[in-house]
């Protein structure tokens, strides 16, 4: 199952630390808020970026980020 990075939009204030820590996955939208580069609203976090993504979650000053698995995926059941 893939892990996805999710934003709590009611908490995010575009402080931008996540953009610095996860530039591979995130870029700034027109107003400074984190925008997924992949075109999905909630980008999947590949294993090689797990540690960086977890750091972004911990460092967010607003605790607006979270990583959780994607339950409803086709082919979920692969390790």
């Amino acid at each position: 199952m893939t892990d996805r990075l999710r934003v709590d939009w009611t908490r995010c204030r575009a402080r931008g630390l996540c953009l610095e820590l996860l530039p591979e996955l995130l870029t700034a939208d027109d107003w400074g808020y984190p925008l997924s580069r992949s075109g999905e609203t909630e980008p999947s976090v590949p294993r090689w970026l797990s540690a960086h993504a977890e750091r972004a979650v911990v460092e967010c000053p607003r605790l607006a980020l979270r990583i959780s698995p994607d339950p409803g995926e086709p082919g979920a059941g692969r390790p």
């Binding site: 402080r15 931008g16 000053p61």
Partner: protein
């Protein structure tokens, strides 16, 4: 030997004051959401944390040294309970208050994910009680309270924190939302149909 302890106690104390002043300045910059030259925002935050842990290390040395120094007459309970020490209780007590608040600040920050942003922020305001208490303690407890070099250090620390505070209050908002142009209000949707 006891002289050495006393000098080491004072030396570590001054170091703690300087380091915590730096922590406050870095904390103000962190909160502002601005990066520093060569330091992205996450690095400013990380530096703030690292320096605070260094300050905590020196604080531990400072307290241990003075516990061992007979001239300081510091008991273990004076480390956590303020204003009851034998030597300059009022000024000493402020140091204890500052230490208690440091423990609170560090513990709450380590538990930030558990307690949530609101509770954490509320507790972190204690930094603005902690630092003045530390400054007052430094001025009042030290035997060189009238010595030029200590006063210079204190003034420099206070100046740095003051300057950071003014920069923060006067500078632009840290929330980088670009204000959006006003939209003509709807003319009354009933009139649409």
């Amino acid at each position: 030997m006891t002289d050495a302890l006393w000098y080491f106690g004072r030396g570590t104390g001054v170091t703690v004051l300087v380091l915590f002043s730096l922590v406050v300045v870095l904390g103000i910059v962190t909160r502002s959401g601005q990066p520093l030259p060569g330091l992205p925002r996450f690095a400013v935050a990380a530096l703030h944390r690292t320096v605070s842990l260094a300050a905590l290390a020196f604080l531990t040395l400072h307290v241990l040294t003075l516990l061992l120094d007979p001239y300081a007459q510091l008991r273990l309970e004076d480390v956590v309970l303020p204003f009851r020490a034998a030597y300059r209780p009022a000024w000493q007590g402020l140091g204890t208050v500052a230490l208690d608040l440091v423990v609170l600040l560090v513990a709450s920050s380590l538990l930030r994910q558990r307690i949530g942003v609101r509770a954490w922020r509320w507790l972190h305001w204690a930094a603005y009680l902690c630092w003045p208490a530390a400054v007052a303690h430094a001025i009042g407890t030290g035997t060189d309270r009238h010595s030029g070099w200590l006063l210079t250090v204190v003034v420099a620390c206070a100046g740095a924190v003051g300057a950071a505070g003014i920069w923060r209050l006067v500078g632009r908002s840290f929330e980088p939302d670009i204000p959006v142009a006003r939209v003509p209000p709807p003319t009354g949707l009933a009139g649409l149909w």
